[in-house]
Homo-oligomer: 339 residues x 2
C-alpha cells in the first residue's frame, strides 16, 4: 500500500466519462482528498480535462497514470468490461481503487479484483454513492431498531427513458458490459442486500433483451425469514428511483434513493397502519458522493482496509449473475449462500 | 328481470358480514336505491340488524329473502365459497346481483354465475368499490390520453397485518375460499387489467401457504406491448394499498387506491422525468361505494345490462387462477387469451 505523503489522499481518474466530472467535484469538496491526475487514451482530451480543473498531471494512457508514484487512489469510470483489468493493474501498482458500478461483468471477476486488492493491501469499493448518504444511515438505523416490525418486503424501481435502441451508448453495448441490470438494477440489488443483510436464497427474473443487452428487467428475490424483494429496472421507462420497505408494523418509502432531488435535504416517509401514523422525514445532509470520497480516503489514509466493501460488491454481482441467468433460462435460480 | 315498482331499486342483503354495514350505508346514501331486507341463517341476528336500520324485512334464510318479490337486487357479502350458489339462486329469482370479491372460487364458477345472470336478464357485478371512484375515472382518462406515454409497468401492493395465523377468520379458511390473492390481490389484478385493458399473456407467482391458504403472494404478469405488472398482497405485512403506473414519459402514483384516506378528497401524483414536473392532484368526489350502488341501481333500473362487469370479474378470476396455479407449481403459466 502506498503511504500518503500528505494529509490528503491524492487521486487519479482513469478516463473522462461524464460521471468523472461529478466525482472530480466530490474529490475537490472532500477535506481529505485531492485530485492530481487524469488519464485518457486520447492525451489531448486528458490535457484539456486537466487544464479545465487545474490538475497537476494528465496522461495519455491509464498505465502511465498508474506509474505515477504520487497517486494514492484511483477512480475507475471505465466501461464495465474494463473494470477487472484496470482494477487489478491499479492494485498491483499499490493504488486504492474506487470502481464504478457494476463492479465487474460477473461475480468471478469481482472476486479476482477483491483478491488482487487484498493481496496488494489496497482498499476496493464500488461507486454506489447513495449508500454513503446520511439518509441511508438514518433509514438503516430505523430498520435495525425494528421500527417497521419484522421486515417482509422490499420493492424498488430504477429506470430512465434512455432512447438507447440502436445507440452508441455504452449502456447498450454488450461487449462493453452494458445492460439495465448492471447500470440501474445494481443499485436496487444493493439496497435489498443492505436492508435485509443477507443474500437471497432464490432468484427469478424476466428481461427484455435487445442484441443481448437487457433493456429492462423485473426481478423477484426470496430471502429467509418470510422476506421477499422485487424490483424493476430499465432504459425504456420514465425516470424512477424509489424503494419501499414494508414490515409487519410500518412501511418506509424513499422516492429518490439513488440521488436525492435536493442535494442537501433528503426525504423519506414512514407509514403505519393508518393515515394518522404517517410521517414525513427530512435529513439535512452533505453531498453523498463527497461522503463516499471522504470515507474512502479515510480508509486509504488509515490503512485499515474494510472487507465489507468488496464483499458487498461481490454479493451484489452474485445476485445480478443469478438474475441474468434466470432471465435467460426462465427458471428460478438457487443461490449459493456463500458470497 | 324484475320490473322496479318504484323509482328506487329495492335491495336485500344476504348475510350480516361486517362489510354489509358499509354497503347498507351506501344504499341509504344512493338516491336511486333503498335497502328493504336483510337475511341471516340466524333469524334473531337478522331481526336485530334490521331493527337497528329500520328495515322492512328480516329473514332467517337466504332463500326466504330471495322469495321476496319486492326485492330487485341483492348484495352478497358471504364467504367466497358460497358466491356461486347464491348468485345463481338469486339470478333464478330474477334478482340483480352485486357480489363481494373474489367473485368466485375460480373463473369456471364465475362463468357459471355470469351465464345464470345473463339467462335471467339480471346484472352481475363484483364489489370492487375503488373502480367506481371519480379518481379512478380521472386516472383512466390520463392513461387513455397518453399523458404517461406508452405504458410500461404497473406495480401494486395491498396488504394488512391481520394476525390471521390459526385464526377463525374467513380469510384464513381454505374451505370458505380464503386467501390473500382473492381478498386483496384481486384488487391489484383488477387495477392491472383496468389500466392495461388486456389479459396478461403469462403469469408467475410465489406464495406463502398456511394450511393451503395463501397468506401472501407476489406476482409477475407479462402483457403484450413490452408491458409488465407486478404486485404483492398479504395478511402478514402492514397496511399498504398503492399502485404506480409507469410509462415512457411519466409515472402516476396512487397511495390509497383501494380506499382513499379522505372519503371525499382523493389524491394521486404524476412524476415526469425531473422533479420540476412533479405534480399532486386532488379529486373532490363522492363516496366510492355510493357511486357503485348508484351505478348498479341505474343498470338494474334501465334494464340495459352491461356485460363489461361480469367479463371484467371473469378476467380477474382467470388471472387469479393462473397466479395460484403458478404459486403451487413454481412455473410460469401461459394464459388463454380468450376470457
Amino acid at each position: 500500500m502506498s503511504t500518503p505523503r500528505t494529509e490528503k489522499i491524492r487521486w487519479g481518474i482513469l478516463g473522462t466519462a461524464k460521471i468523472a466530472a461529478k466525482v472530480a467535484r466530490a474529490i475537490d469538496l472532500a477535506p481529505n482528498a485531492e485530485l492530481i491526475a487524469i488519464a485518457s487514451r486520447d492525451h489531448r482530451r486528458a490535457a484539456s480535462w486537466a487544464a479545465a480543473r487545474d490538475l497537476e498531471h494528465s496522461y495519455g494512457s491509464y498505465d502511465a497514470l498508474l506509474e505515477d508514484p504520487e497517486i494514492d487512489a484511483v477512480y475507475i469510470p471505465l466501461p464495465p468490461s474494463l473494470h477487472r483489468e484496470w482494477t487489478i493493474k491499479a492494485a498491483e501498482k499499490s493504488k486504492h481503487v474506487l470502481c464504478e458500478k457494476p463492479l465487474a461483468l460477473n461475480a468471478a471477476e469481482a472476486r479476482d479484483m477483491a483478491s488482487a486488492c487484498k493481496d496488494n493491501g489496497v482498499q476496493l469499493m464500488d461507486g454506489v454513492m447513495w449508500i454513503h448518504h446520511q439518509r441511508s444511515d438514518e433509514i438503516k438505523n430505523i430498520l435495525t431498531e425494528g421500527a417497521l416490525g419484522e421486515l417482509r418486503r422490499l420493492t424498488a424501481a430504477f429506470s430512465f427513458n434512455g432512447k438507447l435502441q440502436n445507440s452508441e451508448n455504452i449502456r447498450a453495448q454488450k461487449e462493453l458490459g452494458g445492460g439495465s441490470l448492471g447500470d440501474l438494477g445494481y443499485y436496487c440489488v444493493r439496497a435489498i442486500i443492505w436492508a435485509f443483510e443477507s443474500l437471497p436464497t432464490k432468484a427469478f427474473a424476466t428481461a427484455r433483451f435487445c442484441d443481448g443487452v437487457d433493456f429492462n428487467l423485473s426481478a423477484l428475490l426470496w430471502f429467509e425469514g418470510e422476506r421477499m424483494a422485487t424490483f424493476d429496472c430499465g432504459f425504456d421507462t420514465v425516470a424512477r428511483k424509489w424503494f419501499e420497505i414494508a414490515g409487519t408494523q410500518a412501511s418506509l418509502v424513499c422516492d429518490d434513493f439513488v440521488v436525492p432531488q435536493q442535494e442537501a435535504l433528503a426525504r423519506y416517509w414512514i407509514h403505519g397502519s393508518s393515515a394518522e401514523t404517517d410521517s414525513r422525514h427530512s435529513v439535512e445532509a452533505g453531498i453523498q458522493e463527497v461522503r463516499m470520497i471522504e470515507r474512502f480516503s479515510n480508509l486509504a489514509h488509515s490503512g485499515k482496509l474494510e472487507e465489507k466493501w468488496p464483499n458487498d460488491a461481490i454479493a451484489t454481482m452474485q445476485v445480478c449473475d443469478a438474475l441474468l441467468e434466470s432471465a435467460h433460462c426462465n427458471q428460478i435460480i438457487q443461490l449459493d449462500s456463500t458470497p
